[in-house]
Amino acid sequence: MNDNLVSVKNVSVEFDYQENFLSKKQKIQAVKNVSLDIKKKSFLGLVGESGSGKTTLGKAILGANKISSGQVIFHDEHTDYDLANINKKELKEFRKKAQLIFQDPYAALSPRMTVRDIIAEPLEVMKITKSREETDERVRDIASKCRLNLEHLRRYPHAFSGGQRQRISIARSLVSYPKFIVADESVAALDVSIQADILNLLKSLQKDLDLTYLFISHDLSVVAHTCDEVAVMYLGHIVEQAPSRELFTNPRHPYTKALLSSIPSIDPDDQKKAIELTGEIPSAMNPPSGCVFRTRCPHASPDGKEAGIKMGLVEVSPGHWVDQCGVNCG
């Protein structure tokens, strides 16, 4: 029995890009040769700066982005779904099993639908329930699991605060009883007190419904608190991956170290200086050759030998993978 729910093997995602209609067509590699196993019932965090390819990878796993090369396999109980070569019928089935929670609960909910209709819509579109009674029952069940007040189901989204809206949005994603959830910056738009509430809800739902999460976030302290495993992305590559505790106590890659040191400490006396990365993430259109991090790496050698290094993860301790260039220089 395979204990992975999703296996990602050497996946690349490319987009076509043309600056204007006269210029040459170019390819942008948003995700490059990424391999990732997502264990059943795990809470996997995916972190990185904007432009690192987190969302693109998440969408590729959901079959919402075309996969240019490589393989994404979703292991369901009886069938395996091969996302790179999936037909329409299989994709419909797959959508019931894998869902997405969005970032902004203000934009994700239609203002013209009642909460009940918003949550019920996926059931109707996927033709999961047979009758209105059955639909209502499913909606009530998931709404109470997401700690929504059942009397609120007849109201419209404008009557709700950000935290309540995010709960509605979560209920909608979970109503088809999926196994796998991609949560893309799902708490980034919320105030801290509400953020804590939603994170606790996601955790408790994981136990109730046997969910597996891919949790995409740029906030490392949130990821440290909720995820059991973390992968760090930079410019389309995974540069480090480890169990949460291990990654946050013993980071190896210089990029991970810089990210961790950049989190402002809540202790005013803790004036540790952030490892300042000069400049910003390079454009994906023109990524550095060799180690992609070399242009900002504080340890890059002056002769630029990192330009000739091939990227690839090596296991430094059980379950802790680091890009080979980062192991040596950090």
Binding site: E49, S50, S161, G162, G163, Q164, D191, V192, S193, I194, Q195, A196, D197, L199, N200, H218, D219, L220, S221, V222, A224, H225, S244, R245, F248, A258, L259, L260, S261, S262, I263, P264, S265, I266, D267, P268, D269, Q271, A274, E276, L277, E280, I281
Partner: protein, 326 residues
């Protein structure tokens, strides 16, 4: 050190279709030269409204109370009505940086032209001087190729660079007071660290006063000297940053700190503050926090306590309802 900004008993109300709502109630605070005052609170707590009152940037349906005072350099700026006077506080003595730099630059005008335009408004200099000041300022905030960037549009710059350009523009008139409204919220952590260090360096160099508005207590801990915690338009606690973070007294401040994921203490459970912030139309009477207070006193719960700050230790002020129930 001299006091740059002194706000006394400020009340701000807005007329809306549903009636008049209270956005800020009875706020007093001050900022000295070289001091960073952090203002924290959830959305809707009145942080930005307070900052905008200083520059009179609130919309037309705003009402200030008669006896409110916002004193900058001995003048009550709330009484300013003439264009000449307003110019003094809008970009002259006071500058503001906003959260989203893309929305703050005009998209169809070159960055340099925008910088020069506002300099000419405030300083008796010619275009050439204005350009050299602007380019110097861009260099000062760490923008490489400053002269090239001067001739570019906002969309050609990355997020971090736009925020730097915004800071350069705000500082080029040499304001005495800088209002920074969530200046790092839209940025990645690595860029946030760069911008925070930049703001700190500049404060030291120019002895400016800064009002730093954010919802991120980590950012506050690393930048501010003093903190004011706001909830529903009221300051519930204020004092030196160490006191507030290490020895918080008000249940709301404590709640905020407990809800925050701390990277140095991964085992601590995340504790949300129960309930949600009430709508300004249903503002609680008495202590505004009573609807969410985890352990209110009987008097506080019934709304019988009038709000007001009392000093619990030198410089550390807490709302009187919060002192008893915390």
């Amino acid at each position: 050190m001299s006091t740059l900004l002194d706000i006394k008993n400020l009340n701000v109300q807005f007329d809306t279709d549903e009636g008049r709502i209270v956005a800020v109630e009875n706020i007093s605070l001050s900022v000295k030269a070289g001091e960073v005052l952090g203002v924290v609170g959830e959305s809707g707590s009145g942080k930005s409204v307070t900052a905008k009152s200083i520059m009179q940037l609130n919309p037309g349906n705003t009402h200030y109370n008669e006896d409110a005072e916002i004193i900058i350099d001995g003048e009550n700026t709330l009484k300013f009505t003439s264009k000449e006077d307003l110019k003094k506080i809008r970009g002259g003595k006071v500058s503001m940086i906003f959260q989203e730099p893309m929305a703050s630059f005009a998209p169809a005008i070159k960055i340099g032209a925008q910088m020069v335009e506002q300099l000419l408004l405030h300083k008796p200099i010619d275009k050439k001087e204005a350009k050299s000041i602007s380019v110097d300022m861009l260099k000062r905030v760490g923008i490489a190729d400053a002269e090239k960037r001067f001739n570019q549009y906002a969309f050609e710059l990355s997020g971090g660079m736009r925020q730097r350009a915004m800071i350069a523009m705000a500082l080029s008139t040499m304001p005495k007071l800088l209002l920074a409204d969530e200046p790092t919220t839209a940025l990645d952590v690595t860029i946030q660290a760069q911008v925070i260090n930049l703001i700190k360096d500049i404060i030291k160099e120019y002895q400016m006063g800064v009002m730093f508005i954010t919802h991120d207590l980590g950012v506050i801990a690393q930048t501010a000297d003093n903190v004011a915690v706001m909830y529903l338009g009221v300051i519930v606690e204020k004092g030196p940053v160490r006191e507030i973070i290490k020895n918080p007294k008000h249940p709301y401040t404590r709640g905020l700190l407990k809800a925050l994921p701390d990277i140095n203490n991964l085992d601590a459970p995340l504790q949300p503050i129960p309930g949600s912030i009430p709508s300004p139309l249903e503002r609680p009477t008495g202590c505004v926090f009573r609807t969410r207070c985890p352990h209110p006193t009987q008097e506080g719960k019934e709304g019988r306590i009038n709000m007001g700050l009392i000093e619990v230790s030198p410089g550390h002020w807490v709302d009187r309802c919060g002192v008893n129930c915390g």
